[in-house]
């Protein structure tokens, strides 16, 4: 009798053990997938559009084959349409122009003279589209290139879409010096709960465009310039009320590097919504835009944001 109880106990626990070994009650988080759910990382350049002029096919490439509002790395390849082989091009200029329905033309921060990457035979540059293509206006690319002594030019309308990745967000604003600025995030595309190298481009709208100048392209190419020797002070915080204005340690303000871009360090202590609070200082340390945010830990209160900030999410 008692032995049979024992046998039953054995069977019972053996069964229990099997259930236990089989699986944990709650699954562990797949951390790699956790981040991937929110952000799709684009690492591959794909063709956005192409145009044929004379005997040449001009192919415009961007990450994921899409142009987004904000910062875009752009590659241009030029091939012989018949032979489909790369062509020796000596010079290439690239200018995006937005035309509104009432005919106003404007450009955006952009590299006008693209660099030639001889190893991979393409031209490289960037554009910071300041708006999406919409009912009010549309974007077109004005491309000129030279083969031998001959110049070619083409205009290609492109579609600029909303950037779904908030880590590549951008903002435009007027500084206390009455200048128009653009700040666009360039990296990290896919942040980690870690130290992240933060890269941004900071540009200024140039005034005094001479309306009597010849073609629109000639003046619009000078419409923005990179700002030099500024400082972008950084204070990242989680805006969620429950996070009580949580911040992270060891962050570094963004300073200009030799590539002209602004580099700093942002630490994200957990995934979720973050606000990058900025204060932009000019080379003499004068505040151009941005306000100090409270540093206190205030649970239940939504974090106050700087006048100059970018919201990110990962």
């Amino acid at each position: 009798m008692k032995v049979s109880i024992l046998v039953k106990t054995i069977v019972f626990y053996a069964a229990l053990a099997c259930v236990f070994f089989g699986s944990c009650t709650k699954g562990k988080t797949n951390y790699e997938a956790e981040r991937g759910d929110v952000i799709e990382e684009n690492t591959e350049f794909k063709e956005v559009s192409n145009a044929v002029t004379a005997n040449y096919t001009v192919s415009i490439e961007a990450l994921n084959g899409v142009l987004y509002r904000g910062y875009n790395d752009i590659r241009v390849r030029i091939k012989n349409t018949q032979t489909n082989t790369p062509v020796e091009v000596s010079d290439l200029t690239f200018l995006p122009i937005r035309t509104t329905v009432i005919g106003e033309k404007s450009s955006c921060p952009n590299r006008y003279n693209f660099d030639y990457k001889s190893a991979d035979k393409y031209f490289s540059g960037y554009t910071v589209f300041t708006s999406e293509s919409d009912a009010v206006g549309s974007w077109a690319l004005y491309i000129n290139f030279t083969v031998g002594n001959q110049s070619f030019s083409l205009i290609k309308e492109v579609s600029v879409r909303q950037q779904p990745n908030k880590n590549l967000n951008m903002t435009t604003f007027t500084g206390l010096d009455d200048e128009q600025y653009v700040i666009a995030l360039i990296a990290p595309q896919k942040p980690n709960v870690a130290e992240n190298k933060l890269v941004a481009g900071i540009y200024k709208l140039n005034r005094a465009l001479d309306p009597s100048a010849e073609g629109p392209a000639d003046q619009l190419q000078f419409s923005y310039s990179q700002v030099e020797r500024y400082t972008l002070k950084l204070d990242p915080r989680m805006p969620e009320p429950s996070m009580g204005n949580h911040s992270s340690p060891n962050n570094r303000d963004l300073l200009q590097d030799t590539d002209g871009l602004y580099h700093g360090v942002v630490n994200y202590t957990m995934t979720g919504n973050w606000t990058l609070n900025f204060i932009l200082l000019n080379p003499v340390g004068k505040v151009i835009r941005g306000t100090e945010v409270p540093k206190d830990f205030t649970p239940g209160v939504e974090g106050r944001k700087s006048e100059l900030h970018l919201d990110i999410l990962f």
């Binding site: 008692k2 106990t9 626990y13 229990l16 949580h246 957990m270 995934t271 979720g272 830990f297 649970p299």
Partner: protein, 662 residues
């Protein structure tokens, strides 16, 4: 059963300072399984007051163990006033690591009193046999029935009810023993509601519900060898922690092992015992029972350990020795996920233990020589290797940029003692030196919220080994009626690991007030002393008294936290025929040496008066004991120096229990 327990349990009142090895007798070698070669400090699982105690209550009756309490369940045992990072806690030599970053699941919470036979407590470096330690070791010994008992099948059943928190418990165990096969099984259920404090106020979130079961099977492969497989399953559900902002929804542990034991009748080697083990713990905190919380948060944790322990016992003439090899691999994972008020929004996620692997291997040895019939020398040491790997080291880099992902540490340990018996006096003197590696939380923890001082804690992978130098001494005096024992120990600890406020960062948990980082104090000192007195007033009237005192100081002479103030325990036992009466008084003096920087405040003195009576009788053929008693009879309202959030302890509690042996 009674005869069996006499063989099995070698009772000792206080802490025996030696690592003595009981001689392996010829008659015990025949009956394998009875042999308890490492018979040092064995304490029966029963306290003076109560026969149906929880493991925590039992440990509390030892004079060098105190507790951090966050509620009615799963108390964290402090050995020599040091927290669990500084001691090694094992079950039959198996290493198990809790899966809760807040230490809500000490190893002692995964066993039950009816599957343990005794607890082996060693102080200081003498406890380095199972692994590197500073404070010492606590080894929970599982119950194991010998082969070839006259009574083939037997067991015990115990039931009881405690009125304060409406705790009902049912504990049962069974054994089956033949000449070459033994099976042990046990099962235990405990369910308790909220308890009431000394002001008769309900302490919300102090309920618990526990199921524990164990099974052991042994087979004798030859007259001198046997194999044994063991498993413990433990499940705790709906456990409240009044001192915390969240409760335990579920924790489960499976603890398994397979061992082979070989005895030798001749030669230097007497016993060789090898065991492989596996255990897995899952622990899920839950705050859905606390609607007042601002943030809903999930905090699951997992801990998985594989290990090997192999030991041999040697004996020749007056020399005896134990050599032990230990190895384990542990993976600790803990997650935090916070939910914004708008649940459709993106959740916030981080690891509080970023997949931290710990590998450890050590070789330890303990030797003793009986110089004469009156004196003995013990000498031992160990060398351990500790390796850590943090899979998501980028979490650790936020506060410690560039910290290594992998870390190797060497952990040496040495100890020596001398024992002398002079007529009625027993004297012992000992010293020790040892290193320990930082725990997973201390090295790799990430925003671990500590509700005692309300800080978020950050680990530091670059912490140095903690190095302890200790000295201990004891004097005992014994007559037929009176025995007095006094013990002192002193620890001088370099690189003492403790949390200090960081000027960096801001809290993540909304209840917390700041961020603390684990850092090393250049030194800390700890002094513990205890006096035990036992007096037989009459043959059936015993008096016992214990007085303990401890003092801990940091590098600037400030107080260390969680050091027990002067405390006492005194009890009187009267036996008349089948009736036993006990009364005891215990308490702490005010904790004047508290430490405000570590979140402590002045805790007042308290005293608790307990009373119990038991009656033994026969239910037909079954030997039975009935007990009724009351703890905190005067319904004192109090909390102790180590109660988190000054949560009041239980008020008057009337307990009853019935035990039937068959």
């Amino acid at each position: 059963m009674k005869k069996l327990s006499l063989v099995l349990f070698i009772l000792s009142l206080g802490l025996d300072v030696n690592g003595q090895i009981a001689p392996v007798k010829r008659d015990t070698t025949r009956r394998l399984g009875e042999v308890k070669v490492d018979a040092t400090i064995k304490r029966k699982i029963e306290s003076d007051m109560k026969m149906a105690v929880s493991v925590d209550e039992f440990l509390a009756s030892s004079d060098n163990i105190s507790f951090i309490k966050r509620g009615a369940y799963a108390w964290e045992p402090l050995l020599n006033n040091m927290s669990t990072e500084r001691s090694t806690i094992t079950i039959d030599g198996m290493h198990i690591f809790g899966a809760c970053t807040d230490k809500m699941d000490p190893i002692t919470s995964y066993v039950e009193s009816n599957n343990l036979s005794s607890v082996d407590i060693k102080s200081g470096q003498e406890g380095s046999m199972h692994g590197a330690t500073v404070a010492g070791s606590i080894d929970l010994k599982r119950r194991s029935t010998p082969f070839g008992l006259q009574q083939k099948v037997g067991g015990a059943y115990q039931t009881g009810f405690e009125f304060n928190n409406k705790q009902a418990f049912n504990l049962g165990n069974l054994f089956y023993s033949t000449d070459n096969f033994v099976a042990d099984g046990s099962i235990a259920f405990r369910k308790a509601g909220n308890y009431y404090d000394g002001n008769n106020k309900e302490v919300l979130h102090s309920q618990y519900n526990k199921l524990n079961a164990s099974l052991g099977l042994a087979y004798k492969t030859s007259p001198l060898s046997a194999i044994r497989v063991d498993a413990i399953f433990d499940r705790a559900k709906d456990v409240g922690f009044p001192a915390l902002p969240m409760d335990l929804w579920l924790s489960r542990a499976i603890i398994t092992s397979a061992s082979y034991k070989q005895l030798f009748e001749q030669g230097l080697v007497k016993v060789w015992d090898t065991k492989v083990y596996f255990n897995a713990v899952e622990h899920y905190m839950d705050d859905t029972t606390r609607p007042e919380n601002l943030v809903h948060m999930d905090m699951p944790g997992w801990s998985t350990t594989y290990g090997l322990v192999s030991k041999i016992n040697l004996k020749k003439d007056r020399y005896s020795s134990e050599v032990q090899f230990n190895a384990y691999d542990n993976l600790s994972i803990a997650e935090m996920r916070m939910y914004p008020q708008d649940r459709s929004k993106q959740t916030m996620f981080a690891y509080s233990w970023p997949w931290v692997t710990t590998r450890f291997a050590s070789m330890a040895m303990n030797n003793s020589w009986e110089i004469s019939g009156r004196s003995k020398v013990n000498l031992g040491g160990s060398l351990g290797w500790n390796y850590n790997y943090s899979k998501y080291v980028e979490f650790n880099w936020i506060f410690h940029p560039g910290a290594p992902q992998k870390k190797n540490r060497w952990l040496p340990s040495l100890h020596a003692s001398y024992e002398l018996n002079l007529n009625q006096f027993d004297i012992s003197l000992g010293t020790g030196f040892g290193h320990r590696a930082p725990s997973v939380s201390e090295a790799y923890g990430y925003y671990i919220y500590n509700s005692f001082d309300r800080y978020d804690y950050i680990g530091n992978p670059d912490l140095k080994n903690e190095i302890s130098y200790e000295g201990n001494a004891s004097v005992g005096f014994k007559t037929e009626k009176l025995s007095i024992a006094a013990k002192v120990n002193y620890f001088y600890i370099n690189n003492y690991i403790i949390g200090r406020i960081l000027s960096l960062g801001s809290p993540m948990n909304y209840q917390s007030v700041g961020v603390k980082g684990y850092t090393s104090l250049s030194k800390a000192t700890l002094f513990n002393t205890a006096i035990n007195v036992d007096y037989k007033i009459l043959d059936n009237l015993h008096w016992k008294g214990v007085l303990t005192y401890a003092r801990g100081k940091d590098d600037e002479g400030g107080n260390l936290p969680f050091i027990r103030p002067l405390s006492y325990q005194t009890s009187l036992h009267y036996g008349y025929k089948k009736l036993g009466l006990r009364t005891s008084l215990n308490g702490d003096f005010a904790q004047t040496n508290y430490s405000p920087i570590y979140g402590e405040d002045l805790t007042g003195a308290y005293k608790i008066w307990n009373l119990s009576a038991d009656y033994s009788f026969n239910l037909g053929k079954l030997k039975s004991v009935f007990q009724v008693g009351a703890e905190n009879l005067l319904n004192e309202y109090y909390s102790t120096y180590a109660d988190w959030g000054n949560i009041p302890r239980m008020g008057r509690n009337i307990f009853t229990s019935l035990k039937v042996n068959f």
